[in-house]
């Protein structure tokens, strides 16, 4: 496995719930939803982030894209993407906190626009809700690439070849279809094709296969695997399923209640887990194979 440069580095990330009281009193530290999370994704590698529902996996992803909901605030931490730090939050001085944040947010909005999609792409759990039902797939693709300053006509052949690469045999039919005419697996592949078209360096996959049937799931994971091998994309793979991690990941971070309890190489996590929580996850994972367990471990 190639050890390329780091595409994403998160250092000491902390996300807290913003409440009315927080503006006047100093109680922001009361409810950390994500607490002191650090992880890194290298080129051509997959970093897995695993934990049960509500452990803060998705919030970590949203923080990277600066897409946290209004009720939450990125309190502390540093997110570095491809060497350039886009945000640095040091909020030690609480009196200037609010102004400080506001100015920063305004300055950075345009930078974020360029960054999102172009350098980092995200695929989500429910692909059906990522598309506007009244526009065709072709329109979605056209809109995305023109939003990033690319020309539709000159990129047309690239669109076709990307769609072919992802297993759509007749791209024209797909481009004129509406989202509801396609299945979940097909829409997920369209999402991946958008990331490929814009040549994103980082792919954030938040439970990309959870709603799909097993055969489609295997197919999507094959595609992500191909992307990282051939296009050298770094992938942050969020899931609650250890078998998805076993299939794809190089490094793993285990999250519980908003904090990383263990991280390391995938083999170490599976064969030499240290944290009690990781052991519990592995037990649950193996017990799902039921009576098949001896066969699959051989």
């Amino acid at each position: 496995m190639s050890c390329g440069k780091t595409v994403l580095e998160i250092n000491g990330l902390k996300v807290t719930l913003k409440s009315k009281a927080c503006e006047t009193k100093e109680c922001c530290n009361k409810l950390p939803l994500v607490n002191d999370v650090s992880l890194a994704v290298s080129q051509g590698e997959v970093t897995g982030l695993i934990g049960e529902s509500g452990s803060g996996k998705s919030l970590t992803c949203l923080s990277v894209m600066n897409l946290l909901p209004d009720t939450m605030v990125l309190d502390k931490g540093r997110i570095t993407i491809a060497g350039s730090s886009l945000e640095e939050f040091s909020l030690a001085d609480s009196s200037t906190k609010n102004n400080h944040l506001k100015n920063r947010t305004q300055n950075l909005t345009s930078q974020w626009r360029c960054f999102r999609g172009r350098r980092a792409a995200m695929i989500l759990q429910n692909p059906m809700s990522c598309f506007d039902p009244i526009f065709t797939i072709g329109y979605h693709i056209k809109e995305t690439i023109s939003a990033h300053g690319l020309d539709w006509k000159s990129h047309r052949s690239k669109v076709d070849s990307t769609l072919c690469e992802l297993g759509f045999e007749s791209p024209n039919e797909i481009l004129s279809a509406y989202p509801f005419q396609l299945s979940g697996g097909m829409l997920q592949r369209i999402m991946v094709s958008l990331a490929l078209l814009l040549e994103a360096e980082l792919l954030i996959a938040d439970e990309p296969t959870t709603d799909l049937d097993v055969i489609v799931q295997a197919r999507i994971l094959d595609i992500i695997d191909k992307m990282r091998k051939e296009k050298n994309v770094g992938v942050l793979l969020v899931t609650h399923d250890l078998s998805v991690i076993a299939r794809l990941a190089d490094n793993v971070s285990v999250m519980q209640n908003g904090a990383v309890v263990e991280s390391g190489k995938v083999e170490d996590i599976f064969h030499r887990p240290k944290a009690a929580y990781t052991k519990a996850l592995l037990d649950a994972h193996f017990s799902l194979y039921g009576s098949n367990i001896n066969e699959v471990l051989l």
Partner: protein
Amino acid sequence: MNILELDNISKIYHRGGWFGRGSSINALVDINIAVAEGKSVGVIGRSGAGKSTLGRIILGLEKPDKGKVKYRGKDIQRFTKEDWKKFRQEVQVVFQNSLGSVNPKWQILDIIAEPILNFKTMSHQDLRKKVINLLEMVGLSYDDANKYPHQFSGGQLQRICIARALSLEPRLIVLDEAVSSLDMLIQAQILKFLKKLQNQTGVSYLFISHDIRIVTGFCDTVAVINKGRITSQVTSLLQAEKSDDPILRELARSVLPALPKRC
């Protein structure tokens, strides 16, 4: 003895046909399945294979176009009112969509007590005691009894649906993708609980799923359905990988590895 027998069940859905000739879909063709008492039978197939239609026919929610569903040796089409009453008590179901299976305006206490009140008269104290007992069985606590469905996560709500299914001490539970949308830890926990319950009470399960790993691990025998027909039977994952049935092989091949494999 077989608690449930399906005898050459076929089901055809018609669509269209107002102004021209409609088309028809063979949802199920000549299905034969038997569930023995205290055993688990799995039904596996891709989405659209006819798995859920089968579940609905077993529950008597839909009539088959051909064939018989026999419960304890008696055809459910010939059931008397008394038979139905017994059947409704002994056969329970858990669906995949837990939020859609509960009344959002009711407290958990009422949700779990509803089937009991349909069949028995009980004092309020006894009823409450029984509901709390059921909640504790599925790993929830007594404070949860007075909460509303929206206060729970999907996994907790699914356990509430299971508690409700258990409230009448059923003999057969139809689990229609009951664990598919849950988090891995909770899936394992629920499957373990169901197995324990089977050992204690001898309840039978009909387990409908698309995840061959879980089905073969949980059930004694598994029927593979494709386009409404049973194409083969398996008992283990290893057997599935070597099968002649292309659908089964594909399902088995797409099972993700338990351990990371390095090249």
